[in-house]
Amino acid sequence: MSRLVVRDLARAFGGVQAVDGVSFALGAGELLALIGPNGAGKSTCFNLLNGQLRPDRGSIRLDGRELAGLPPRRIWRLGVGRTFQITATFASMTVRENVQTVLLSRHRCLSGLWRPAASRFRDEAQALLDRVGMGTQAERPCGVLAYGDLKRVELAMALAGDPGLLLMDEPTAGMAPGERQELMALTAALAHDRRMAVLFTEHDMDVVFGYADRILVLDRGRPIAEGAPAAVRADPRVRAVYLGDEA
């Protein structure tokens, strides 16, 4: 059963067709990797899904609800969480406060002027942090965390929105190799437990082939291959795109 169904998504910038007719479906608990050379349209595709950009045409349905053209805040409320290529957290707050802020937003409690926020949704935030392995660092300021830990905090913040679809833009960029494996294993487990669909871009092919259930390859805005990792790896068009003229 597909949670996310994308049909014929397209977006041009001044005559250049950055994304041109991308369609795919993503089921609960499934990890789909979006790969392709620089300029293939991965970022544009991502930004169409999260609402930073409006598509020229096409539809994006999550659990049957249309997302295309909605602003980022609405899309988030409809269940699309994301992590950023370069982590974006609230650096002056503690790890737990970061997650609590998201929970407060989800429960529409952010206008309160009186009750201290630190006591709200504390246990829920702690549980999420425990789940991503950051429970013991809950009191530390985000501004001093190691990069790999920040990625985990981002994951917990995304989960706090209880997403049906998680978008991860280069989730392991800037991390040490060991950390990469751990983060992706965690992501796969979370996707499975929470029946969550995960779409990610990634340059590290070990991560892509190690953790994606399926792979979608873009070149110049168009999908050129989609399928299981082994099939994509063997595809001659994919090899041509990645290796240049020689392959």
Binding site: N38, G39, I86, Y147, H203, V238, D245
Partner: protein, 238 residues
Amino acid sequence: MTGESLLSVRGLEAWYGRAHILAGVDLEVRPGEVLALMGRNGAGKSTTLKAIMGLVAQRRGTIRFAGHDLTGLPTHRIARLGVGYVPEDRRVFTDLTVRENLEVGRQPPRPGVPAWTPERLCDLFPNLAELRGRRGGHMSGGEQQMLTLARTLMGNPALLLLDEPSEGLAPRIVQQMAAAVRTLKAQGLSVLLSEQNLAFAGAVADRAVVIEKGCSRWTGSMAALAEDEAARRAWLAL
């Protein structure tokens, strides 16, 4: 192994904020040689060049160029020592004309080497001659790439850092770039270029260093890389 190296990088590490991008890059560029820095997207090729140029705030390791330690120097001093940098995203000064862009790059000539002048550069890049009064912002991608290289040459560098010179260019322009790099090499310039396109690297480079996840993994001649299917598969392909 011929002689002393012009550029020697040892154990180079670099960070953007808290992201650890380079974790140990080693490479040598010998005088008159073209070295290709190869690797996938996001492997750290551009960051390596920027770190050499002093454009990354947080870096560690040793970078020696022609007897100078570059590690603590500000960018403009590195440039004046004879390191020319051609960025991937070109960064042509869009408000400035071609002539003015070249003027910004102009530095005093190096002793014993003929100085680059706009005239000589127009011989190397015939397109530029017609475009002298054109603003940088009103040029095609290929023309901008030529201009960026020409602008850097105006500083009379001894070493050229070329970041992905073939990226996003039409095949005809890529051939022109390759020809230009070969001409420069013939004139004695050393070149360190980052490249994903194996064909382009094969056409211009003598040797290659392959990096992955911020570490150098493989070093050898272009010919050896062409034969080493396993290395290509491991570090460059899927």
